[in-house]
């Protein structure tokens, strides 16, 4: 008898969307799926400033989240920290408009 899957938390849902969004935005530079979401994960991907800025702008569009200057540097360097930050800000994932 299988047990029902544990529902994902809001933070986990945001993280899933962030990974999908990043794979969409940076498809031309990523070598494969984004599987590493630990501390420093974004930095380890070696994104250029081009891709990082595109990703930040895409997050604003996707989540209705507005970045501000006071965001801790660890938030911009890691997908999981970014998910926690966005989730804590209380913004709900918007329906995706991607193909």
């Amino acid at each position: 008898m299988s047990t029902p899957a544990t529902p994902l938390t809001d933070e986990e849902l945001v993280l899933e969307r962030l990974v999908a969004l990043l794979e969409h935005v940076a498809a031309d530079v990523l070598e494969g799926p984004v599987t590493d979401t630990g501390p420093g994960s974004l930095r380890r991907l070696g994104l250029t400033s081009v891709k990082l800025l595109e990703f930040l702008v895409a997050i604003e569009d996707e989540f209705g989240h507005v970045w501000d200057d006071d965001v801790e540097e660890s938030v911009i360097g890691s997908l999981d920290a970014m998910a926690a930050h966005i989730s804590a800000a209380g913004v709900a994932p918007a329906p995706t408009k991607r193909d």
Binding site: T48, V50, E73
Partner: protein, 301 residues
């Protein structure tokens, strides 16, 4: 600086690198681009690594050979911290290795001091100088040294993040900061923190503090020199540049409107146009009189 422009910035090291080994065993990262024409060497500074120049020199690469490199202890270069004068010898070593007998030098901010010293030490190797946002003046550089000390104090107190927060609103102009918003700030901060270690920044700032302020080093430069600055530059003014040009042997001043300390970031077209016109005028033997910038200089284009 428009957001659209920012999105085209690329600071990544992507395998196009080459390394030059200096006599003391340091390794300098460099890139040589462009099909042909006069050699223009882009001398990086504390917050501008060699790869950044790709973004601001696409037009120049069409008819110039462009050499950019990371200073020792910067970006992808390594090496032991040294006196500031070592940067001059590093540049000579790199040019020798690449067989470049004569070059135009483009310095920015602190690296204009490297260009100044190189032009004095090896005048036969310098076709001309473009000094962008130079922090010196006929009065000496006490202001520049006080600024460098405050940057070092910020680095010691709060690390690279604190240093970035201090320099960001200084080096970029009012217009660029307003238009870039938080997205540009955060993206550039992240790249700055990823590329520059605290040890590298500390070494570079300490070396810059050791740079000599002697005004006579300006008066003895023989090479044609263009003093180029944004009109929103925190480190100099048009009157200071005019006074500097007065004491130099063969210098002209050009001001680019609506940008700060790094015109190549904020007005890359105007920057490249100024460098190209300067090189052409020197090659044709018409520099400097009278040096006139285009009527549309610095406008959004």
């Amino acid at each position: 600086m428009h957001v659209k422009g920012i999105e085209s910035w690329d600071l990544a090291y992507d395998g196009r690198q080459a390394l030059h080994r200096t006599e003391d065993g340091s390794e300098l990262y460099y890139e040589l681009r462009g099909a042909g024409g006069p050699v223009v060497t882009l001398v990086s500074t504390i917050y501008v690594v060699s790869t950044a120049w790709r973004n601001f020199t696409g037009n120049l690469a069409g008819d110039h050979r462009l050499l950019s490199y990371d200073l020792r202890n910067q970006g992808a270069s390594d090496g032991r911290p040294a006196e500031f004068a070592q940067h001059t010898e590093d540049l000579k070593s790199l040019l020798d290795d690449l067989g470049i007998e004569r070059t135009y030098l483009v310095g920015t901010s602190i690296s204009t001091l490297i260009c100044r010293d190189f032009a004095n030490a090896h005048p036969e190797r310098v076709a001309g100088l473009v000094l962008v946002g130079p922090p010196f003046s006929p009065r000496g550089s006490s202001r520049r040294r006080r600024i460098a000390k405050s940057w070092l104090a910020a680095l010691d107190a709060g690390g690279p993040r604190a240093l970035f927060d201090l320099i960001y609103p200084l080096v970029f102009g009012d217009k660029a900061i307003a238009e870039g918003g938080s997205g540009a700030y955060l993206a550039l901060r992240e790249r700055f923190l990823a590329i520059n270690s605290a040890a590298q920044l500390r070494a570079n700032l300490r070396e810059a503090l050791g740079a000599g302020d002697q005004v006579e080093r300006l008066t003895s430069i023989e090479a044609p020199t263009l003093l180029l600055s944004g009109d929103d530059d925190f480190s100099t003014t048009e009157s200071t540049l005019d006074a500097t040009a007065e004491i130099m042997r063969n210098a002209a001043v050009e001001i680019i409107r609506e940008c700060g300390h790094l015109p190549y970031f904020e007005q890359p077209e105007a920057f490249q146009d100024a460098v190209a016109r300067f090189v052409a005028s020197v090659e044709e033997g018409t520099f400097p009189a009278p040096w006139t910038a285009p009527a549309t200089e610095g406008k959004d284009r």
